[in-house]
């Protein structure tokens, strides 16, 4: 197509003007591509990340959305804790197929510590699906202060089976030395699950409770900030469990700490020792001392408090019944993660709509820039157009050359913008994934592709109409023979 060649030559002949115009178009397209793909990727990531966690989440009353975010996506602080008997009742309820306790703890190198039980490893996205959390190596925890690492946590922390670590205070990486006394031993490492739990450390509920009992019993500057203030994380609310416990319990907890510290100092900790240390965690736990030797972590969790319970009801009707039970009760709330995430997506979509509006404005600006560039170029190129006419080009040919020019810039801008947009979306998604462990995947969105190509095409044609009309009307004799 000769018009394309002529248009290309014209563009190449004024590279600065062409690049500036193309960049403006590309930035407008990149903005739209980034916003749309990031929003979509984030929503898909959240859905995927929350997929294995059952139908209902039961937790303390308060923000239902925060309950879901903190429990399933490990984002932000938990709403609070609930009494262990709620978990026990759910576990024994015939309407419940699976109940998994969750106790949110501190962190190790930024990886969140979560107390749970062996049923966590039975979680799956559907009855037919394989368990979402499967071991890559080792075994699941059999006693307190044994830990199973998520795949990313294992890589990030550089820990292997048999390695030992001491958790830090708080939910974010803290200062060196700001550590709990309890020594945890790595007994298993999970396969990647595509959930935030890839960057988590799983242990028993009692291990989490013990750490906070320690924090209450021996507060220092950091723990005062982390725990006594009670605004760092809801795991601190576990302390509130301890607050209801007698002073003797606190002392008992302190004893546990010193026992653990002693072990730590001697660096001769064994799983068995850890278990025996944990056996003295609290007065309540003392009543279940025999359970520690075995594998009944339900007992540990139910002895104190838990942050939340993941519930997989046996059926749809039972799910609604359970939800209604909690809705009419005052002790806790039950929420459907899907509904809460739907609310979150509504918020995300509102944000996207605003950004899309900004994108439209950017597109209009790009179209005006394109129009100005081609209009002024056509003005200064009337001589060339007259030459083309002089050697036999028809009016519609020169008009087409100008239109092809604007469309070429618009479509090249769309292409560059596409690459920039995908690049930016992938970079931001990577950063979100790194920070939150929510797998935000930027994928191909065929449903938006036509619009992302057609819009620049339409803008190109629109911006080129007047300059093309100018070219159509060029007076050959006047331009070639000005005198």
């Amino acid at each position: 197509m000769y018009e394309l060649k002529l248009a290309w030559r014209n563009l190449a002949n004024r590279p600065v003007q062409t690049w500036v115009t193309l960049t403006v178009v590309a930035l407008a397209v990149a903005l739209a591509v980034t916003v749309i793909h990031l929003n979509e990727g984030l929503q898909r990531g959240i859905i995927r990340a929350s997929d294995p966690f059952g139908v209902l989440v039961v937790g303390a009353q308060g923000s239902s959305q925060q309950l879901v975010l903190s429990t399933l996506l490990l984002q932000g602080l938990p709403v609070g804790n609930i009494d262990g008997h709620i978990f026990e009742e759910l576990r024994d309820d015939p309407r419940v197929a699976l109940a998994v306790p969750m106790a949110m703890g501190d962190n190790i190198g930024g990886a969140r510590i979560v107390g749970t039980d062996e049923h966590f490893f039975d979680l799956r996205s559907s009855q037919q699906a394989a368990p979402a959390f499967q071991l890559a190596e080792g075994r699941i925890f059999a006693a307190d202060f044994e830990a199973v690492l998520g795949s990313r946590a294992a890589v990030g922390l550089g820990l292997r089976i048999g390695d030992q670590f001491r958790p830090a205070h708080g939910v974010e990486p803290g200062l060196e030395g700001d550590e709990h006394a309890e020594v945890h031993t790595v007994v298993g490492i999970l396969q990647p699950s595509g959930t935030p739990f890839d960057n988590a450390v799983l242990t028993t509920v009692n291990s989490v409770i013990a750490m906070h009992a320690e924090a209450l019993a021996a507060p220092d500057a950091s723990t005062t900030t982390d725990h006594a203030a009670g605004n760092d994380h809801a795991a601190a609310d576990l302390v509130s469990a301890a607050e209801t416990v007698s002073a003797a319990e606190t002392v008992s907890a302190a004893e546990t700490v010193s026992a653990a510290e002693t072990v730590s100092a001697a660096e001769t900790v064994s799983a068995a020792e850890t278990v025996s240390a944990a056996e003295t965690v609290s007065a309540a736990e003392a009543a279940h001392a025999d359970d520690h030797a075995g594998d009944d972590s339900h007992a540990h969790a139910s002895a104190g408090q838990v942050t939340a319970v993941l519930v997989a009801p046996v059926g749809f009707i039972e799910a609604n019944q359970l939800w209604r039970d909690f809705y009419t009760g005052a002790e806790a709330q039950a929420v459907f993660p899907g509904r809460e995430l739907g609310g979150l997506f509504d918020l995300l979509n509102q944000g996207q709509e605003i950004l899309i509006l900004v994108g439209y404005l950017a597109a209009v600006m790009a179209a005006l820039t394109l129009f100005l560039a081609i209009y002024s170029a056509t003005e200064s190129r009337q001589h060339l157009l007259a030459i083309l006419r002089g050697v036999g080009a028809r009016r519609r040919t020169v008009m087409l050359v100008v239109l092809v020019e604007t469309v070429l810039v618009a479509m090249l801008g769309a292409l560059v913008g596409r690459l920039l947009g995908y690049g930016a979306a992938a970079a931001i998604a990577g950063e979100i994934s790194r920070r939150s462990a929510i797998p935000v995947a930027i994928g191909w969105l065929p449903q938006v592709e036509p619009a992302l190509w057609l819009l620049p095409l339409a803008l190109g044609v629109l911006a080129g109409l007047l300059p093309a009309w100018q070219a159509y009307r060029v007076n050959v004799v006047e331009k070639l023979f000005p005198s």
Binding site: R9, I387, G390, V391, G392, A393, R395
Partner: protein, 228 residues
């Protein structure tokens, strides 16, 4: 291609300026294959007449017949097509497309005339550049060529479609005598070979000896001149 002019008048009118009639030709004719030198002082209307003959400038009144066809009875698209296929025009200022190479400039009328495929167009353009001694300059842009070289590219472009009527406006104005002769030789030889009618507008007295017919344009009218 024979050319006939009848009752041709052309008047330039502009707001605030007095209208000026530059052409008043009652009857004039050029037979097919003729080679005619059109003389006249600057501003006499030579370029206007060539523009009219090229189908670029409709006369104010009168009839222009080329090859038996009334040129200005044809739709504009058809006149455009004629310029690409049948009428070759060498502009005084050459008017080469600055964004295209010498080769692409020569190819241009062949593209617009749609007579040949891409390969044949390219071969023809090379052949013509070769004939004007510029094959080695085929990739050069007009700004990278000398005035004489640009003229030769313009000549090659005008001859590209093997037109039946070749119009040349002061083709030797910027050339030395030797180059001038070379260009005129090329033009006249090519036209003789193809049987094309050649009309050259020039005020170069040295050219008169090369033409069997010389016409003077004075006061808007054409006057046959004595030839040597």
């Amino acid at each position: 291609m024979d050319v006939v002019l009848q009752q041709l008048r052309h008047t330039y009118a502009a707001p605030g300026l007095e209208a000026r009639t530059v052409l008043m030709i009652d009857e004039w004719q050029a037979t097919s294959g003729a080679q005619i030198l059109l003389r006249g002082i600057s501003g006499s209307g030579k370029t206007t007449l060539l523009n009219i003959l090229a189908g670029l400038l409709p006369p104010t009144t009168g009839l222009v017949r080329c090859g038996g066809q009334s040129l200005y009875a044809l739709p504009e698209d058809e006149r455009d097509r004629l310029r690409a296929t049948t009428i070759g025009y060498i502009f005084q200022m050459h008017h080469l497309a600055p964004t295209l190479s010498a080769l692409e400039n020569v190819e241009m009328p062949l593209v617009f005339g749609r007579k040949l495929n891409a390969g044949a167009r390219r071969a023809r353009a090379y052949e013509l550049l070769d004939s004007v001694g510029l094959r080695d300059f085929h990739r050069h842009r007009p700004l990278q060529l000398s005035t004489g070289q640009r003229l030769r590219v313009a000549v090659a472009r005008a001859l590209a479609a093997q037109p039946a009527l070749v119009l040349a406006d002061e083709p030797t104005a910027a050339l030395d005598a030797e180059s001038s002769h070379a260009v005129m030789d090329l033009l006249q030889e090519s036209c003789r070979r193809t049987g094309a009618t050649l009309i050259v507008a020039s005020h170069d007295p040295a050219l008169a000896t090369r033409f069997d017919r010389v016409v003077d344009l004075r006061n808007g009218a054409l006057h046959e001149a004595e030839t040597l």
